[in-house]
Symmetry: C2
């Protein structure tokens, strides 16, 4: 394997130019995301960016196709519990359907958990379907309870 | 029932003086919270306060005893998904052991979900044990999946 291959799928932070590289289309594989205008994207990007280490969106770009093929995010909750502790919440993890089986999801989770650890969180948490439990167990997470929701729309 | 009784258990936002009213001791009924100094409390309080509507801690004070007997928090996550939507994350809901059965937990959840709705979230989510599922169903939430964790300490 050539060195270039070894570094082919690096995780990096989301950049403002990633909208044109299929970032929104990738999110559509996970949930509803009909239409995000360039202006909306830029506003949300800058807002999240202003949170610094407290909210990170990471991506993997396929440098051959120039497409974003994996992503995940984490934000840091500040608590009074656990002696004013911090918790990392992992959200919106998705790997492009054509890029599964290459451990990209695992790389995304490692990047996000490393970040949480580095900023002093005492734990990371995430919610998933029962079908994804085995994947997250391979990433080092354990089931703790259940996930409840209330939709307004 | 006198009018004063009807308004006895009002939900309000956390105030900086609530530490001396047993707020930390109440959290200890939920999870580890050994020692929070006045300075630590004040710093975290001011930090959360600076987030405005994006992070709310609410409490119920028993005006007879002057003690905080219920609490819960919510923070608002900004996403790209759902057309740059927002999600309310409910955390750290606890009712004092001596004040159970008075629907205080339900009042806390209603306050937090009303807040999420008012600021334009498309849903609220929370994680709990299987044992608390029935309570949250009475509050209008439904189980969607499972909750995974990774502890660093």
């Amino acid at each position: 394997m050539y060195p270039v291959e070894k570094n082919r799928f690096q995780v990096r932070k989301l950049e403002i130019t990633d909208k044109s590289k299929g970032f929104i289309e990738l999110l559509q594989q996970l949930s509803v995301c009909d239409s995000v205008s360039d202006k909306q994207f830029e506003e949300r990007f800058l807002e999240l960016n202003s949170y610094g280490d407290d909210h990170i969106v990471c991506v993997i770009e396929d440098d051959r196709s120039g497409k974003i093929i994996a992503t995940g995010s984490i934000f840091i909750e500040k608590k009074f519990l656990r002696n004013c502790g911090k918790v990392g919440h992992i959200e919106d993890v998705v790997v492009d359907a054509s890029a599964r089986g290459m451990q990209l999801g695992k790389k995304i989770i490692k990047f996000l958990t490393d970040h949480a650890h580095a900023v002093g969180c005492y734990k990371v948490i995430l919610d998933c379907s029962l079908g994804n439990k085995a994947f997250y167990e391979k990433c080092g997470l354990k089931q703790k309870g259940i996930h409840m929701t209330m939709y307004f729309v």
